[in-house]
Symmetry: C3
Subunit: 156 residues, 3 copies
């Protein structure tokens, strides 16, 4: 079965949707898809509720400043204080396009593998308990091992 | 003939130029190049003039807020209310670098295939009549089918 | 030895770090890695000090407006007038993650090839004397020739 990887670096709503649409599509067509969530992209995997974990003050501040989960992210353009993002989400709903949260659930249901970058987690102070279920952990070596065997590798 | 694909997600002037320079170059060297225009990237394909089509109010609003064609797009950095973008365009002209519109025409002349993402068109309310000539239509399956056989796949 | 290429288009601190972490990692695992620095990415290669070169007024203005070297770049998000970027750099230091400048030196020490895009240099008015040592020069044909033979090609 052919392989595909995507580095999900961004937590912009639009870029995250692009990553999920490609991942879901490829998995549905029989590919073995691995998503590597790194830097801002890690925020897409955060549980929507606060999880009680030990953090330094700086780690806590990072946590506050970044969106908690895929339900909280914004468009990279035309966000307009939230109006543009809300408009886009409204339109998607009326056109029966799944929400980003639903796309993530569907991707997992299709067998897309989610790997969280442990180095970014360490820098940003994000703990495994704060992430949604079904996430594995790895670093750049994990990524490179998979990407070497894949036919499509994207950085989003 | 080897294949290359680029997902043109962005409508930033600088990123769009990068995509076109790679696409033109690869086509000139004998590659079969396919560009998939999705999300903001679709705006690069819009005709510069208003096209009378039926739209909902929201679709009309999206249309107003987004740049109409490659002649209207801005740098991702240093746009500075238009001054930076104008400076860059001026410098490109004096250095005989083609404009983005000319690069797009040259890419088409070199046989680069342009595919507009139908799902994004639907969400953004962009109609086929609003796009420049020579554009084909497709979705994620079209992309994946081509990317699987390509030696280079980029997301810009 | 398998090959990997990354187009380093951005000069955001976060994206540049991602590029360097992948490049260093791949080179350490035995890959032949080539980084193509283009557009804003060229700024990562600028020497931190002013270099006396002949420039037009516009070239000089571009030079002033863009960051001079990897020590001067900012996060793409949460920069917050410098506070977010400083926080991130502080955290990286306490977690013993190398700085971007150190990552660049390590990548070069591991044999990662750095190629500066001559067309971007021309447009932005950046002269070879202004760039750090160990950089080669090339254009889109150089990139495509290497990317065609590579197993992983990213655009960051």
């Amino acid at each position: 079965m052919d392989k595909k990887t995507i580095i999900v670096f961004s937590n912009d709503l639009d870029r995250a949707m692009a990553a999920m649409i490609i991942a879901r599509g490829a998995a549905a067509m029989g590919s073995e898809v691995t998503l590597f969530f790194t830097f801002w992209g890690l925020n897409l995997l955060r549980k929507p509720e606060a999880v009680p974990v030990q953090k330094t003050l700086l780690e806590r501040m990072f946590g506050w400043m970044m969106p908690r989960g895929a339900g909280k992210v914004s468009l990279s353009k035309m966000h307009m204080g939230g109006m543009g993002t809300a408009m886009m989400q409204h339109v998607m709903k009326t056109k029966q396009v799944p929400s980003l949260n639903e796309m993530i659930e569907e991707a997992q249901a299709f067998g897309v593998k989610f790997i969280a970058c442990t180095m970014s987690m360490d820098v940003m102070g994000i703990k495994p308990e704060e992430l949604i279920d079904g996430v594995e952990y790895g670093g750049v070596a994990t990524y490179l091992g998979t990407a070497d065997e894949a036919t499509v590798n994207l950085f989003i």
